[in-house]
Point group: C2
């Protein structure tokens, strides 16, 4: 059986694509390797997706997107893509469980994952003090001391969130001012529990059975110091989940997929939407709009 | 007093820009010449804005967007813009009521309005049988016969809507197949009250104190005929509301404003978002994403 479209990834971009594809009565489904939601699930509170003035949790918003897609008949199936191969006018998707799916079009909406610091101790202490998700792991650090690494929106938002649990939150940033939007930066600066460690980078994560301290380099003075912490949360950016299309579609040097404004990639029949795509603003609402646009383009291109 | 940003237009794009600008603590407000909502208000039911699986009316969605913007401190003020003049690094906005507003940036989100047929009788019978809004005027045609002109999503959706009231709906389209998405086209074809008039254009709207008939030209056969109707609804596309920036920012030949992917126009400090902008897909969700992106760009460019 040949499908009209397979949507890879069940985050906001993929689910929005499913809403539009389902409403357009295209045949296909969403492939998700875990459970629907993507990065949004690790967001404590979404307060800027237009239409929800009171805000809602990432989980609640994903539930709404999923229900919306299913309302229009789009199913969400479990499976992880190993590779994609164009065969004539069709595309074969190979899954890691050996299944093969044949389809006329594919929307890649696999999103992105956290970037690692790449320092000694990071991999070793994952789950024992090193975390990339404040919502997931914050509650484990009640009345303890944690550090957040980064200076963008995510880092600052999560640092604020962590003050609900931790007694102290160090915010370690390589520059001497935050990159985060003003409302977040202001909130962080007004928060007594947050102490800024400017111009600094983490050189090593140290501990025994769990994280105990960070070796910090001040980039301005060249001085090294040790910061005692019970945990460290790393929010220094994202990397796209696009390994499985490397060499197939055109990407930038970071691996983000290049598209035109209809979300078409360099390969006929393959589209990309959301955080895995090269684009200026990574927000839920832009991912959703791109998913919708990609599905519209699929419908248009198939007709 | 000099503001950070003035958002012109209170439809989905403008209100989303307000949500983002307000949350970023930018100083400014939304200028709307009528009441917030724009074209969405004349949409009977919005079923594809992701996050609302059950659908909602255009009015309800706009209420949510407005509340969301106001939650972040953005006010919606009444006023119609006559012109914009750059003065050094600032922009002066002149209103039709003679007020002047000085601001560092402007987001143009004035949307679009219906395109006219440009035939004899059209202007004469507006409000007496000629309409551009099925939601507004449909109920006046209970058990009567109406025609819809157009073949895109709007035309077909409104034709279906009108069957709730009218006893018969002619769908007059210049081609022999619909441009609308399949789900809508299928619904229209399955509807017994809808009769298609293919390959045809309206040459004249005729009547006395109100519309009585349409003069129709079949473009394939060259034959002219008369179609008795009590009303005619025209949905043949849109024109951007951009007269007040003509000669200031770069537009295409239709008047749609050109921007980069950050929604920046050719004039420093002036941004555009939504249906007034040159872009591929005119949907609520894309307008909203563009409004958010424009506000983000404003914040970034001011910093």
């Amino acid at each position: 059986m040949t499908h009209d479209v397979i949507i890879i990834g069940g985050g906001p971009a993929g689910l929005a694509a499913a809403i539009y594809a389902g409403r357009a009565k295209l045949d296909g489904f969403v492939l998700e390797k875990m459970s629907p939601g993507g990065q949004v699930l690790i967001t404590d509170r979404v307060e800027n997706y237009p239409g929800f003035p009171e805000g809602l949790t990432g989980f609640e918003l994903v539930e709404k997107f999923s229900a919306h897609a299913q309302k229009f008949g789009m199913k969400i199936e479990n499976g992880e893509v190993a590779s994609i191969e164009p065969v004539g006018d069709l595309l074969n998707i190979s899954l890691t469980d050996q299944r093969t799916i044949t389809t006329r079009s594919i929307i890649v909406a696999t999103g992105a994952t956290h970037r690692k610091l790449g320092v000694k101790g990071e991999d070793e202490f994952i789950g024992r003090g090193v975390s990339y998700c404040a919502t997931c792991d914050g509650p484990f650090f009640r009345d303890q001391v944690v550090a957040v690494v980064g200076g963008g929106d995510s880092a600052v938002q999560e640092a604020i969130f962590l003050t609900r649990f931790a007694k102290k939150v160090y915010l370690i940033h390589r520059r001497d001012e935050l990159r985060a939007i003003k409302v977040l930066a202001d909130r962080a600066k007004e928060n007594d529990k947050i102490e800024f460690v400017w111009d600094s980078v983490v050189e090593e994560i140290e501990g025994d059975d769990q994280v105990r301290s960070l070796k910090i380099l001040n980039r301005k003075t060249g001085e090294t110091s040790t910061l005692k912490v019970d945990g460290v949360f790393i929010f220094i950016g994202i990397v796209p989940v696009t390994d499985f299309v490397k060499g197939l579609v055109e990407t930038d040097e970071m691996g983000f997929i290049k598209t035109d404004q209809w979300m078409r990639t360099s390969v006929k029949g393959v589209y990309a939407a959301g955080d895995c795509r090269q684009k200026p603003l990574l927000q839920i609402v832009t991912a959703v709009a791109e998913g919708a646009t990609a599905a519209y383009a699929v419908e248009h291109d198939l007709a």
